[in-house]
């Protein structure tokens, strides 16, 4: 199996293309009748879907993975755990799933990129959905400790400590 296109995308950090590349490659390989599942990079494939926020496709991919692989490849299970937390909207749980596994070198790059993207999305969500929010909750949404959250300044968001336990959210014009 020729993974050169996939490796190129990973090397050039074009993470949003990973899902399509993996999908097309899988269809081509399957059409040739080659037994591919044992060597397939399911973890990267799952994370590719998760990166572009297509949890539906991640879910269907997970369902199609044979149980034998789920048992023998813990990294695949760990990758799905992130997707599962996103599916159930366990906002804080996503960070736990990201940090709770010792990723291999190739996967680590993708996970780190997703982690950054997810934190950014959470910032944007907080900005649009809340006018005030407790430091405790903000810290959970952003996957930081309360200390870090209160000192944090993000390019698109200013968190200002108003009363002792709450942030008032201002929109910053970056």
């Amino acid at each position: 199996m020729d993974f050169s296109v996939l490796n190129e995308a990973l090397a050039s950090k074009s993470f949003n293309k990973i899902a399509d590349i993996c999908d097309n490659l899988m269809l081509q390989v399957a059409a040739e009748g080659v037994p591919f599942r044992d060597e397939w990079p399911f973890a990267i494939h799952l994370l590719g879907h998760i990166y572009i926020d297509d949890i539906n496709s991640a879910r269907f991919l997970w369902k199609s993975i044979p149980p034998a692989i789920k048992e023998s490849q813990p990294e695949v299970v760990a990758a799905w755990k992130i997707g599962q937390k996103l599916w159930t909207r366990d906002y804080a749980g996503v960070y736990e799933a990201i940090r709770g596994f010792d990723w291999t070198q190739q996967t680590q790059v993708l996970v780190a990129a997703f982690s950054e993207l997810y934190t950014k999305r959470m910032f944007e969500l907080l900005q649009s959905a809340y006018s005030t929010i407790s430091i405790q909750d903000a810290a959970q949404f952003l996957g930081m400790s309360e200390e870090d959250a209160s000192n944090c300044k993000h390019a698109h968001l200013c968190l200002c400590r108003e009363v002792s336990y709450y942030f008032t959210i201002f929109r910053c014009i970056a």
Partner: protein, 413 residues
């Protein structure tokens, strides 16, 4: 065997120019019966033909080989042969014998399913669709086969790509019903409920002379998706739906109509009781997943109704009105709705209040203008097509025969 050998030579000789291929087609048509008679011995002869040059001849041989019943043994030997044929054949040649091509592809689908590997068939079937259709507006018999394989292989995203194309030309009505039904299921899987509703609506309102099972199943899903997406169901079918559908569909989907009625009352407990009582029926229709989504959407529906009455509301009040267990749960529901773009609001955690806002879209951005422009262009194209169709029909003798003319029509010749 001489006739087969002779046929092979003719195929190899007559496959280079378009006129040669047409003469070859006549030869093949005449030889078709004898090919079918020798079907069990034809497989080794395929090696002497090149599917990328001798596509038409290869197709005739392949169709004869695969004409018998599908067995696991024959499936394993033919699946790869057909997949490779599909990817290398020349579209112009196979379009001369569309029925044979469709027959081979359907066999391929049967084989792939018998081997329990629908994923193997997805890419070849998509290629087959592209080669068979005369334009992207043409719906072939292979479209629903492709979507079926996508559904079974769980490749919903791949299936979605073909659904984006507008269809104006249909070969067989059954193709349209199946295409729209499977297409609706794919959209439901990817949570594109608006598109799913459009496709299912097409099945339900399509012309039909007798009620068919596909329309009934489509209507059941249509009811459920309508509740999830719009929060309501219109009680009657549009006027352009066939008389058959208007008279029969509702009585064949009674439990679903009842579910919609219960949903409209807004009382979650009643809805859940009704679902429990009819669990088996929904399960046997394979609609349990959708029904569960309907139940969880009722919270959303009730919260959205609040925006029509209140400017601000406390989280506790939301929890009480919508029958959630705590203000925290209410906060999570509102947050999820904001995330999904289903509501415009801000949460003030300090005071425990939610303020409902107006849709901030001012319709002034470049993206919005581009979107409107594209929509107008699509409408103009559609309008032109309708004008052409209208002109064609008004010249159609069948139509003229049925329309009664106000004055006696005097023949002037």
């Amino acid at each position: 065997m001489n006739s087969v050998e002779g046929l092979l030579t003719q195929i190899q000789g007559l496959s280079s120019t378009a006129s040669d291929v047409l003469s070859l087609q006549n030869v093949l048509k005449q030889a078709d019966e004898s090919l079918h008679a020798e079907s069990t011995r034809l497989l080794p002869f395929l090696d002497q033909l090149d599917p990328s040059k001798h596509s038409l001849g290869y197709l005739y041989f392949l169709e004869a080989c695969t004409a018998g019943p599908v067995t696991t043994e024959s499936a394993s030997s033919f699946v790869l042969v057909i997949a490779r044929f599909i990817s290398s054949c020349v579209a112009e040649q196979i379009r001369l014998a569309p029925d044979k091509f469709i027959s081979v592809c359907k066999r391929f689908k049967d084989q792939v399913l018998l081997l329990e590997e629908p994923l193997r068939g997805v890419a070849p079937m998509l290629t087959a669709v592209r080669k068979l259709q005369s334009s992207t507006e043409h719906l072939t018999t292979l479209h629903p086969e492709f979507l079926l394989l996508c559904l079974l292989a769980k490749c919903y995203k791949t299936g979605l790509s073909i659904l984006e194309e507008d269809i104006f030309e249909v070969d067989q009505p059954r193709d349209l019903y199946l295409y729209c039904y499977y297409g609706g299921m794919i959209c439901i899987g990817q949570k594109c409920f608006r598109k799913a509703l459009e496709l299912l609506h097409n099945v339900v309102t399509a012309p039909m002379s007798t009620i068919n099972a596909i329309a009934v199943e489509a209507y059941k899903k249509y009811i459920l998706v309508s509740l999830i997406h719009h929060g309501q169901l219109s009680t009657s079918l549009p006027k352009y739906a066939s008389g058959v559908a208007q008279r029969n569909l509702k009585s064949l989907c009674l439990s679903y109509i009842e579910l919609a009625n219960s949903y409209n009352n807004g009382k979650i407990a009643d809805l859940e009781t009704y679902v429990q009582a009819n669990m088996e029926k929904f399960g046997s229709d394979n609609n349990l997943g959708l029904v569960k989504q309907v139940v969880s959407s009722i919270y959303k529906r009730n919260i959205q109704r609040l925006t029509q009455t209140y400017l601000t509301l406390s989280l506790q009040d939301i929890a009480n009105t919508v029958q959630l267990n705590s203000p925290k749960e209410a906060e999570m529901h509102v947050l999820q709705m904001i995330q999904d773009g289903e509501i415009y609001a801000t949460i003030n955690q300090k005071d425990g209040m939610v303020r409902f806002l107006e849709d901030p879209e001012l319709y002034k951005t470049c993206e919005m203008i581009e979107h409107i422009d594209l929509s107008i262009q699509r409408l103009m194209t559609l309008s032109k097509k309708l004008t052409v169709m209208d002109e064609l029909i008004s010249c159609d003798p069948l139509y003229l025969g049925k329309v009664s003319l106000p004055f006696p029509f005097i023949k002037l010749f």
